[in-house]
Amino acid sequence: MTRQRPFFVQFLVPAVLVAVIFAAAMFNVLKYSFLEFVPGSLNVGGFTLENFTRINRPIYYWVLLDTFILSFATAFFALLLSYPISFALVRAERNWVRSVLVVLAITPLFTGEIVRTYSWMLVLGSDGVVNTALKSLGVIDRSVPIMYTRVGVVIALVQFAMPVMIILLATAISQINRDCEKAAANLGATPNTVFWWVTIPLTLPGILSGFVVVFAWTMSAFSTPQLIGGGKVLMISNVVYLQGFSSFNLPFAAVLSLVALFAALGSLALMKLLTARLEQNMATS
């Protein structure tokens, strides 16, 4: 094996290093979750299960549920908004249209999260672009609160997630056999029917993976809910931050992190299960 692939071991070194360091960090988080919190100190005490009992409070359930709902909403709206863009990106007949769409869709990826979030604060604030525009158009007479609301957080998260969603969907759309759409039209399907009964089902794998990736990604969102939510919209990462770096309760922060991690893994597993069944149903129905 080493003779066939002479650099095999050397090439593995970086990956192994990253894996080892990551595992060590995760182990520390796990260790901290079982250690006693000493108020007013960064040091920790001995073994305890108290951190785990402390989590059994409604506030943390609500935060967890909120994180789920916000992540789900973000994935859903990102999908809804990205599909037409991806479709145009792949199918546009003029090259310049495709180029413009690629640039518009991908450039946000090269802007830092903080910069993007700050821009959204300028747009969504009570004197921001949206409110000013709506007021001058006479749609509203007083500023509508968007900043520090779930709506505002989701808007920013959706925009944050869209480049990735667009790339995943565009890949799926570009891979379908267009003869299938032609065949459907030839058999008498209207353009509408072709889209809903052929194009969408054929791109379903891309739709599902885009949804899952964005969902999982948003579960761990931090700076967007932190800045746009301003403490009024809390996602699990923000609570971890509050516990770890405001109260300096590192053991409890570790427990919350673990809960977040397993919640994310659990929901991914659940989605995988559901989509596997969905795909099977589609193939056999």
């Binding site: 065949a183 008498g188 089902p201 056999t284 129905s285």
Partner: protein
């Protein structure tokens, strides 16, 4: 029963009429002023090399491509501006284009459901078609569970289930291996006999065209070269392109040294022949023409052959193929010639490098004007 029902659908003289259709892509004439009437129930093949415009023409009949000029009539109605989904054509794609997210039944039912048939009607028609295409028992199968030949049959079933006004086949056999292709040819012939559907078949394979078609349309560079029944096409090609494209043929330079209203005499190398003049032969004495001789019309000379029909060549190669042998010879002043003889005797009789005396079957020699087309 199905047979009668389907053949009764149209009694029109022409099921499809292509009228002076052209398609240009920029400066490129993909299809150039093509006119072609197709009778109801006819199996017509568009044959030509890749890029000859045959697929573009088929796509214009289906409505996937708009003609730059001309009109297309289906069932007596001008459909030039009718969108694809209202044209009532059934197309089988080279890639089959089966719906991978549906099973065999739903694939075949797709077109019927678009036509708002009742559920029981859909089931009846689908099962009927599935039975005809020998797919019984596979209704619930997924497309990925089918072999290439089965997928091909599902694609055909899906197209004929809607009883289209015209069936369009876009190189449907090219993805199959050789033995399966031969078998599918037989099934295509049976399908056509059973349904009586007007069929346009696109292929670059002259063998397929010869064995399947009622009429063959040979195309090259966007234009029709000849429209003829297979036997007529093979024995009376209209021009050099058709002669060379259909079957194997030796193209030899020939000089006419005597021409009258009734006969012309010409020299093909050392061979001299006189043939009764055909009305399409416009050449006069002294002209150079092309003489086309098929390998099966070249043979070893015997003592019975007149000296004027015997020429000596050097054997270059023998290609033994079981039922026959293809022998390549070089003849001074004529170049290489292929001869096709039954069996393999010739391999021992005239070994490679030896001289051989050959003769032509003069009544089968095809004369055409000496120009590129």
């Amino acid at each position: 029963m199905m047979h009668q029902k389907m053949t009764a659908i149209t009694a029109l003289e022409h099921s499809v009429e292509i009228k002076a259709v052209s398609k240009t892509f920029g400066a490129f004439h993909a299809v150039n002023n093509v006119s072609l009437p197709i009778r109801a129930g006819e199996f017509v093949t568009l044959l030509g090399p890749s890029g000859c415009g045959k697929t573009t023409l088929l796509n214009m009949v289906a409505g996937f491509i708009d003609p730059s000029a001309g009109a297309i009539h289906i069932g007596g109605v001008d459909v030039t501006n009718v969108p694809v989904h209202l044209r009532d054509t059934g197309m089988v794609f080279q890639s089959y284009a089966l719906f991978p997210h549906m099973n065999v039944f739903d694939n075949v039912a797709f077109g019927l459901r678009q036509r708002k048939f009742s559920k029981s009607e859909v089931t009846r028609k689908v099962m009927q078609t599935i039975e005809m295409m020998k797919l019984s028992g596979m209704e619930g199968r997924r497309i990925s569970q089918l072999s290439g030949g089965q997928q091909q049959r599902v694609a055909l079933a899906r197209a004929i289930a809607i009883q289209p006004k015209v069936l369009l086949l876009d190189e449907p056999l090219s993805a199959l291996d050789k033995s399966l292709r031969a078998q599918m040819q037989v099934e295509l012939i049976e399908m056509h006999r059973n349904t009586g559907l007007t069929t346009i078949f696109v292929t670059h394979d002259q063998g397929e065209a010869l064995s399947l078609s009622d009429r063959i349309v040979v195309m090259n560079r966007g234009q029709i070269q000849q429209v003829a029944e297979p036997i007529d096409l093979y024995s009376n090609p209209a021009n050099g392109f058709v002669a060379s494209f259909i079957g194997e043929i030796n193209a030899l330079p020939a000089a006419i040294y005597q021409a009258s209203d009734r006969e012309i005499s010409l020299a093909i190398g050392d061979i001299r022949m006189t043939a009764p003049r055909r009305p399409e032969w416009k050449f006069g004495s002294g002209e150079m023409v092309k003489a086309f001789v098929r390998p099966e019309h070249v043979r070893m000379a015997t003592s019975a052959d007149a000296g004027s029909n015997v020429v000596t060549g050097e054997v270059l190669t023998h290609i033994y193929q079981g039922s026959h042998t293809i022998t390549r010879l070089r003849i001074d002043g004529l170049g290489p010639i292929e001869m096709r003889l039954p069996g393999g005797d010739v391999v021992g009789r005239v070994p490679v490098g030896m001289p051989a005396q050959i003769a032509f079957d003069l009544s089968q020699v095809i004369l055409l004007a000496d120009n590129p087309n």
